[in-house]
């Protein structure tokens, strides 16, 4: 399942992928430093020719959120640092661990690889929008029942990815669940619980995001 942050946005020309492309030619691919370039690229470019903060407006979990952000600001940073929605976690800040997964217009994306300006005038659903401790979604409840979590740090991203799957495919096979969370790393080793939780939730009522 595609989880890359597609940048179909026409309102703003800056995407993180574009930033990275732009900087790649500048810095080349020095062997040892190559792995660090992705993370540093947006800061390099910002320093070189970045503008100041630009206003943005995003509907997050059904609520209109606004703010002014430098072009390099990621959706994850905006959600967490500015709008206080810390349920979305940043595990690697380069789209490799999936802890930051949110729904952008219903599609799961890595919010650390999505610039907040790419979410302008779009709808974002975070883990907080799927349920609360007092009113968990059927999937969230199934996660608890299957003990599909240990430390819990990857769990919000896991739940969002599974939630997106169930919205699209209410009765997934285990193979499809494995595919859906293949971009979500869990170091505690809760995958078998995640598979069980999705199966249980598929037999409960369908997932409806509140965002």
């Amino acid at each position: 399942m595609a989880k890359s942050p597609e940048p179909p946005n026409e309102t703003k020309g800056v995407t993180r992928r574009g930033l990275i492309k732009g900087i790649a030619s500048v810095v080349g691919a020095a062997s040892a430093g190559a792995t660090t370039l992705l993370v540093e690229a947006r800061h390099e470019l910002q320093a070189a020719n970045g503008s100041g903060p630009i206003p943005v407006s995003v509907t997050v979990n059904g609520t209109a959120r606004t703010g002014s952000f430098e072009p390099r600001t990621t959706l994850a940073e905006a959600l967490r640092d500015t709008w206080g929605l810390t349920g979305t976690k940043v595990g690697c800040d380069r789209g490799a661990c999936g802890a930051c997964t949110v729904l952008l217009d219903g599609v799961p994306v890595n919010s650390c690889l999505t610039l907040v300006h790419d979410a302008d005038h779009r709808k974002v659903t975070t883990i907080e929008g799927l349920g609360s401790p007092e009113a968990m979604s059927p999937l969230q409840k199934a996660f608890v029942d299957a003990d599909a979590l240990q430390c819990g740090f990857c769990t919000p991203g896991m739940v969002v990815s599974c939630s997106a799957l169930l919205m699209k495919n209410p009765k997934p096979t285990e193979h499809e669940v494995r595919d859906a969370v293949s971009g979500n790393l869990c170091r505690c080793g809760t995958y078998t619980g995640v598979f069980a939780a999705c199966e249980a939730a598929a037999h409960a009522k369908s997932e409806v995001p509140r965002g």
Partner: protein, 764 residues
């Protein structure tokens, strides 16, 4: 001093228990009797699950305060260099930026901290990092185990190095150890007469195995939030030890312990790397002081790989002396490993403890390299040692034409482990093994690429106890119950078993117990390392709960007009002589506003074995054309004494196994020898196991009463990960006929061993 009266208790495997006489420490409850407990030992949902699945659990990464600064560390790009100059003048012009320059003049590894700074946003801190100008004089480095051992290799340290210990390490005395060049050792240990053992043997066998550096990769990177309130340092830390962070900060900053408070309600994984405050934590506290503002220091993924700890690599030589019937008579064992600039690479624990080998001689050597420090990681030294020894046993079985399991039973005197072998063999279908071998031969003859294999390996760990653990129970007049202990939740989920034990003793539902943990202001709790949490804490929880129950029974006795000895407490109701009062009513008659009792972790009973035994079986399928090995099923049979919260125990076992498979097949830190830099400090190119690599897992527990404490409690975190890689390797050996001696067992290594990698012509 008068003789302490002994008490007879039942110990051993259920159904085969024996009576042992032990001294029950004064004030400690009698241990659980063999038989039924109404609440503990069962499965149930995790109490803090709803917070975690809804994003409401607040981790250190999530700390936010008005005016909070974000800290970053400037790190060396070089493996070894003199710092000629550090120009921080640009920082003076940056608004809101503070920095801390400890004035280092040498860096010894790629990623070593040089200075730290804090700025109003993380992005501003990144900008500030780039504004610092450092001139390095690059020095020669050595970054591989083999190169660093050679005479004339660039020295990592000019002076002898003292060993450092964290709560995750195997405790033990630190005898003085010789250091020559970059090699520190041997650290010698063992038992029995090895010369005699070899003299009596019918033959000897030697294998050499290697393992690579494994990085912990907790999903939440190391992080610490620091805020000064007056002269008190308030800290939130992503840690495995609230108290070890407090003690380190108090020590380094020269503060009294009551001036440092550490909270750690939720920690996003640790696996051995998160015990102290770390240099990053000390930086955070100093920057917060300097700025007069709260500071959050969260390492990024790259720093996590470079500088926040790892499982050292290893080179292990095992020489077995054996009898023709498969009995091992002696083992000569040697290990070399590099923890970069740190010590503690020994892998000899397993060979000394796992089996009944009569004579074992161990020599362990640390080799210093210009790389980030290793540290404790889930069962330090043991997965490496297990892989070495279990590979040798597998080779011996093959040489003698014995069934590998039969050979292990020849050398395994542990009653618990023998039961585990039997249960596991049945569950995995070990009897199929000969049939699978035939089917593999048929597949080869038919030109089909898939081969199946079964393998097994033993686990051993130890019951360590954190002395001084104490639990406080408050019962309020409205019938509410709170339990306090400073322990942290790194994923094991201690809230749930704590509540279960208290609920059981007080006869009220688990949900009614409010468990407050993760704060150094609560009574002392263990650091979560070495599988000590459950074994240290649960007996203290039970003691506190039993004391609370006794007091409440006293109140009920008055209320019901019956002697305390006749009061029964069940399902939240106190009753005697046909009269009864519910829990709340009895609490309303408390003489004070709140009943406060504590329970201490009494010392372990003498006598019983402190080792924890386990056995695992793996089934794999190997594609001999692509070299890809995939694990289909793992059966894990473990001893967790009397488990308190079975769901959590099973989750821990699953996690240990998945980390073990990841270690066996995928994880490999890659270092460029020429530059001395780590090439894959991330999770794209440092591959860890994911959803598609996850096999079926069957966790099973033996019903064991170890007889060490009042709850027969012991840990499971380490035992579950010790044997997995070895069991997988042995299953691959069965499937393919090759003998994997190097982890990770990558497709390239499998194809190479199968002779499927064409030899390249080397041109002059």
């Amino acid at each position: 001093m008068a003789d302490v009266p002994k008490t007879k208790i039942e110990v051993g495997l259920a159904g085969k228990t024996t009576v042992m006489e032990v001294e029950i420490p004064a004030g400690d409850p009698l241990p659980y009797k063999v038989g039924e407990r109404p609440i503990t030992g069962k499965r149930r949902p995790r109490l803090d699950g709803p917070q975690k699945v809804t994003g409401r659990a607040v981790y250190t990464h999530d700390a936010q305060r008005p005016g909070m600064l974000h800290a970053r560390v400037l790190r060396s790009p070089h493996a070894h260099a003199k710092i000629v100059s550090i120009d921080t003048s640009a920082l003076e012009k940056m608004p809101g930026v503070v920095f801390e320059n400890p004035g280092k003049n040498t860096v010894r590894y790629h990623g070593e901290a040089v200075l730290a700074l804090a700025a109003p946003t993380r992005a501003a801190a990144e900008d500030a990092l780039r504004a610092v100008k450092i001139v390095y004089d690059v020095l020669p480095h050595t970054v591989s185990l083999a190169a660093a051992r050679k005479e004339g290799a660039p020295l990592v340290f000019q002076k002898p190095v003292e060993e450092k210990h964290s709560a995750g390490d195997v405790p033990g005395g630190a005898a003085p150890v010789e250091q020559k060049g970059n090699v520190r050792g041997p650290k010698a240990s063992g038992r029995g007469d090895v010369d005699k053992g070899f003299a009596e043997s019918d033959g000897t066998l030697e294998v050499v195995t290697t393992t690579t550096v494994q990085t912990h990769v907790p999903l939440e990177t190391h992080s610490l939030f620091a805020e000064w309130v007056g002269d008190t340092l308030e800290v939130q830390a992503s840690t495995q030890g609230t108290f070890s962070v407090r003690d380190e900060l108090a020590g380094v900053l020269k503060l009294l312990k009551d001036k440092v408070n550490v909270r750690a309600e939720f920690t996003g994984g640790g696996f051995g790397a998160k015990f102290g405050a770390g240099d990053y934590g000390v930086f955070a506290a100093k920057l917060a002081k300097k700025a007069g503002k709260p500071v959050l220091m969260a390492l990024d993924r790259k720093e996590e790989h470079l500088a926040a700890g790892n499982r050292p690599d290893s080179w292990n030589r095992v020489k077995l002396g054996y009898k023709k019937d498969g009995t091992v008579t002696a083992v000569d064992y040697e290990s070399f490993g590099t923890a970069g600039v740190a010590t503690g690479t020994g892998t000899g624990g397993f060979v000394k403890s796992a089996y009944g080998f009569p004579a074992v001689k161990v020599a362990e050597f640390d080799v210093f390299t210009h790389l980030g420090p290793g540290c404790a990681m889930r069962a330090p030294g043991h997965p490496q040692g297990c892989f070495a020894v279990e590979t040798a046993l597998e080779e011996l079985a093959s040489r003698l034409g014995m069934d590998p399991l039969a050979l292990r039973l020849k050398n395994d005197p542990s009653e618990v482990r023998r039961a585990e072998w039997e249960i596991g063999a049945k569950e995995i279908g070990w009897a199929r093994r000969a049939g699978i071998s035939k089917a593999n031969a048929a597949a080869a003859a038919a030109g089909s690429p898939l081969r199946r294999g079964l393998g097994c390996a033993a686990s051993v760990w130890y019951t360590f106890v954190a002395p001084g653990s104490q639990v406080l129970v408050r019962v309020h007049r409205d019938g509410t119950v709170e339990v306090e202990n400073g322990v942290q939740d790194i994923g094991g989920g201690p809230r749930t078993p704590i509540a279960m034990v208290v609920a059981e003793e007080l006869g009220i539902p688990v949900e009614k117990i409010r468990v407050k943990i993760g704060d150094s202001r609560y009574p002392f709790g263990p650091a979560s390392g070495g599988s000590v949490t459950t074994g240290s804490l649960i007996p203290a929880v039970r003691a506190a709960a039993v004391h609370a129950r006794e007091k409440l029974i006293g109140v009920a006795a008055k209320l019901l007009g019956a002697p305390a000895g006749e009061i029964a407490l069940a399902n939240g109701v106190f009753s005697a002589k046909g009269k009864s009062a519910d829990f709340r009513k009895v609490c309303s008659r408390l003489s004070g506003e709140t009943l406060v009792v504590t329970g201490d972790r009494a010392k372990d009973y003498d006598g019983a074995d402190t080792r924890i035994f386990g056995a695992q079986f793996a089934e794999v399928v190997v594609d001999v054309e692509t070299g890809v090995a995939s694990v289909k099923k793992v059966v894990a049979v473990h001893d967790c004494g009397q488990p308190v919260w079975k769901t959590g125990v099973e989750s821990q076992i699953r996690g240990g196994i998945l980390q073990g498979i990841s270690y066996a097949l995928f994880e490999e830190r890659v270092v460029d020898e020429r530059s001395g830099r780590v090439l894959n400090p991330n999770v794209e190119f440092y591959k860890i196991l994911g959803s598609k690599d996850t096999p079926e897992i069957v966790p099973l527990l033996v019903d064991h009463y170890p007889g060490k404490n009042n709850a027969h409690a012991r840990g499971i975190g380490e035992p579950a990960t010790v044997p997995t890689a070895a069991a997988v390797a042995n299953a691959i050996a069965h499937a393919t006929g090759i003998r994997p001696t190097a982890l990770p067992i990558t497709p390239a290594r499998i194809l190479d061993a199968l002779g499927k990698v064409p030899k390249r012509e080397v041109r002059a």
